[in-house]
Amino acid sequence: MIIDHPLLGPRDSAEFTYMGDARLIERPSPDSPDAAAAFYDYAYLRDNPAGWHRELWFHEAGDRSWLVVTRNTVTHEISKVEFASDVARAKGRSK
């Protein structure tokens, strides 16, 4: 597969390390009253859809950026590639 890196352009997926569901960005707050349950969900319960999926890829043999890749797991079509840090900020993870 080819991942169209936001800065570096098309790069072979062999340069990346895969970590699955991009929901890992949404780490729960340890201070919430249901933190234990929220962390249980976070650590163990993730979707594994046949179809469009937002996933984390690490450009290990490149610029060491974590990317959120929107990929169809059936066709391998990739519709969007974003920096995970931008996604994290959009999710309110800025300090």
């Binding site: 800065l7 570096l8 072979d12 062999a14 340069e15 290990e60 043999a61 490149g62 610029d63 060491r64 950026s65 920096f83």
Partner: protein, 184 residues
């Protein structure tokens, strides 16, 4: 002054195979620079004063005595002659202050200069960098013999510089030699 004598990563003689010459270059001091949060402008100003320009994405600024290339967003590798810049990291830190994190990298890398007409053929069986499409100053991080390396297209048309992990200098050199032999 201390009296310890450094040794090159590999210490091999320059070798010519067919049209390709492979030379270890032990004379490059290296340091990485990463802009601190909110200090990118100051960092860019200092880099511009040192290199003449801030290396753009996937590019090197081939400048003397310091040169530099882009490693990641807000991060660059700076190189300079070891003879005059062994303390390159300290020199950079003095100029950059709190605007950037500077890390000495001289010991982390082995540097090979490869020249010759068949260099592009050799690159094709080494790594996936599109060497024939790269122009002078283009840089790509890529895998060579399972090793993460930087490939820098230098000013001369037939010249590339490869930075590879120093501890694997022997394996990398072996891969270069076998590839040069295969295309010779």
């Amino acid at each position: 002054m201390h009296d310890l004598i450094p040794i090159p990563a590999l210490g091999v003689a320059t070798q010519t195979i067919g049209t390709i010459t492979i030379a270890e270059n032990a004379g490059v001091a290296l340091a990485s620079v990463a802009a601190r949060r909110g200090r990118a402008d100051i960092c860019a100003d200092v880099l511009t004063s040192i290199l003449g320009a801030v290396p753009d994405v996937g590019k090197a600024v081939l400048h003397d005595p310091e040169a530099g290339f882009w490693m990641a967003a807000g991060q660059w590798m700076i190189g300079a002659p070891m003879d005059t810049h062994e303390d390159l990291a300290d020199q950079l830190k003095a100029k950059l202050g709190d605007a950037a994190s500077v890390t000495e990298q001289s010991g982390g890398w082995v540097v090979f200069d490869i020249t010759g007409a068949a260099m592009p053929d050799m690159c094709e069986i080494l790594c996936n960098a599109p060497i024939r499409r790269m122009a002078a100053g283009d840089v790509q991080r890529t895998m060579i013999h399972q090793l993460g390396c930087f490939v820098i297209r230098r000013a001369a048309d037939d010249h590339i510089r490869i930075l590879g992990p120093r501890a694997s200098a022997g394996s990398l050199h072996h891969a270069l030699i076998t590839a040069a032999t295969a295309v010779a």
